[in-house]
Symmetry: C2
Amino acid sequence: MSEIVPGLEGIFVAKTRTSRVDGEAGELTIGGFPVERLAPAASFEEVVFLLWEGRLPTASEYRTLRNDLAARRALPAETLPLLRRAAQRSLHPMDALRIGAATLSLSDEDPLANSRGANTERARTLIAAFPTLVAAYAQLCAGKNPVEPDPMLGHAANYLQMLNGAPATAETVRALETYLNTVVDHGMNASTFASRVIVSTRSDMTSAVVGSIGALKGPLHGGAPGPALDMVFEIQKRAQISGQPIAEEARRWAEKAITAGERIMGFGHRVYKVRDPRAEVLGAAAARLFADREDAALYRDARTVETELRSTLARLKPTHRLETNVEFYTALVLHGIGLPANLFSPTFAISRVGGWTAHVLEQIDDDRLIRPRAMYVGEFDRPWTPIEER
Amino acid sequence: MSEIVPGLEGIFVAKTRTSRVDGEAGELTIGGFPVERLAPAASFEEVVFLLWEGRLPTASEYRTLRNDLAARRALPAETLPLLRRAAQRSLHPMDALRIGAATLSLSDEDPLANSRGANTERARTLIAAFPTLVAAYAQLCAGKNPVEPDPMLGHAANYLQMLNGAPATAETVRALETYLNTVVDHGMNASTFASRVIVSTRSDMTSAVVGSIGALKGPLHGGAPGPALDMVFEIQKRAQISGQPIAEEARRWAEKAITAGERIMGFGHRVYKVRDPRAEVLGAAAARLFADREDAALYRDARTVETELRSTLARLKPTHRLETNVEFYTALVLHGIGLPANLFSPTFAISRVGGWTAHVLEQIDDDRLIRPRAMYVGEFDRPWTPIEER
C-alpha cells in the first residue's frame, strides 16, 4: 500500500530556472545570481525580465518593459467601486487584492486567447496593476481617494507615490526595490505551486495568479512579518521603563518565551537551517535606509535584539537551529519605508507575482497536468435510506 | 539525486472521506455510496451535507440546510455591474464566475474570522451563489436582465428557473440533480488539489474556491464536454445526407478519426481503464429525460454512436482501452436539460464546488502546509553587469 507524503515534503514536482534555495548552506540563487548580488543592484523590472527571459535585459529591452508596465497600471472602471465596498467592510487587504486582481480579465485585449503570448500579456498587466490595487485599497481604507499612477516613474517609485500621495526619496525607493527583488521567488513555495497546479489544466495566467494570492494570504506562508517588529518595539519599551540595556531586555524576553514554549517571531524557517540569506540582504538594506535618519536607533536596537535572540536561542535550544528568517528584517525595511504592517503581505504579493508569472510560463511550456492522488478512508457500499425514513 | 515526479502521478497527498475512484474496476464511491445508488436518488443539498458531515441529513437537517442555502443566493450589489461588463467583453463564463465568486467575500458576516465555522459559512455562501452568478452572466450575455433567485425552490430547480426565466419541469430538475450529484467529487483532481494547496497555508475557503474555479477552466480538466455532443450531431447529419444508418456513419467516423490519429471526444480517461461509472449513471439519466420527448431520437442515436465508437475503438486500438468517459453523457444530459454548451463548464463548477468545499474542510482539519520542491536547472554565480554595459 502506498503512503501519504505529508505536505509533499521532499517531492520534486517541476524543473525551474527561476530560483534555487539551498537551506543547508543558506544560499538563494535568483535567475542565476546570488540574491545578495542581484537584489541591491537591480530594478524590479530588471528582475522580472530576468525571471521571464533567463537573462538581464539590455538597456533598450529594459526601457520597453518599463514603459509597457507603466502603461498597464490603470484599473478597469468597475474595480474601484468594489475596492470601495471592500474598504467599507474592512476586508483583509489580501482579499481586496484577490477581488481586484480577478477583475483584471476585464481589461484583456483578447479575453478568449490562451496562447503563451496572451498569457505573457496577462502577466504584464497583473504585475503592473498589483501596486495600483494595493495602494488604492490603502487610500480608500484611510478615507482618501486613490492616487493616480504616474507613468513617468518606475514600478517601485510609483507604488510609493500612490501610497503616500507624494514623491518618494531615492533611498526609500532603493530599499523597496531591494525588498521586492529579495522575495520575488523562493523555490516551490505554496503560492507558486498553487499557480502551477491551476495553469497545469491549460487554464490562464490570471486564473493562476488569483489562486496564488489566496495561498499567500495564509499565515503559514510566512506572509506576516508584522509581529517580529512588534517584538522589537515591545523590547524597546521595556528597556525604557526598566532602564536596562536593550540587550538585557531582549535576553529576558527570549528566555521567558522559550521557557513558556512560545515561538519567537522572525526566527526559524522550514527550509533554512542557517541564517536566511534574505535576512542578510534586507539587514544591509535596513542599515543603508536608516543611516543618518532620526529613527536610526530603531535599526541599532533591532540588530541588538537579533543578536541577543540568536545567542539565547542557540544557548537554550541548541539542537533547533533557529536562525533569523526573512520576516525579521522585512518588517524593519518595510516599516522604514513607511508602510503600515497591514500592507506587508500585499507588498509581498507585489513582489512575488514576478515569481508566480515566471513559474506559470514554465508550467505552460511543460504542459503537464498536476494531479496527485487522495487516499480514501471512508466507507463503502452504504445502503440508501429515503429521507422520510432517516 | 531525487527525480521529478511528473504531474505528481501516483503520489498520495491526503486522506479523504469524500470520494474514491477505482479506475481499474470502474467504480466511484461518493461519501460511502456507489455513485449509481446516490446520484439518481439524492437532492444536491443532501449530497453536499453528506460530503461535509460524512452522513446523510435527517429530514430536519435537510430543511435547515436547504433554507440556509436558499437565503444566501443573492449577490453583493457591486457584483452585477462587473458581470455586465464581463458580458460586454464576452469573457469566458468561467472567468466571469471566478470574478464574481471572488466578490463573495464582500458579503462575509465577519470578513477577518478564520475559524472552521467561519469557513463553513463561506462554503454555504459559495455553493448558494454559484448558480446565481452563472445564470446572471448567461442572462446578461443574452441581453436580458438576471432573474431573481426564488427561495421557495431547491438548489437545482432554482438554477434552471434563473436560467430560463420560467419554472423547470420535475424531469429536468431530476436530470440536473443527478448530474450535479454524479460529478460533485472525483478524488484528488487538479481543481480540488488547487483548493487544498491554497488553504493549506491557513488561508480561507473563498480564496481556495476561487483558485479552483481557475483550475477547472482548463481543458485538461475535462471541463469541455461540448465536442462529444457536436460529434453526435455531425454523425446524425451525415446519416441524413447519405441515407445510411447512424451506426454505419458512426463506424466510418471512428475509422477515419483513428486512421488520422485524432482523439475521439468523449472516450478515454487518465484514471478509468474501463467504462467510466459516471457515464452509466448519466446514460440512465438521459434515457429517463428523453423518454417520450419529441427529440427522443437524439438519445437513441447517441446510444448507437457510443456503441459503434466503442466497438470500433476496441477493434482498431485493442490495447488502448478507450472507454466512454463522463463527457459523452454529460453533454447529452445537459443539452437535454436545455443548457447551451458554453454553460457546461460553469454547471460543472456549480456541482464540483460541493467537493471543493468538503476537501477544504478536510484540509483545514489536517492543517499541514503543502509545499513540494522544484529542481533548479539554471545557472549559478552569474556576474552582475550594470545596464549601461549590457
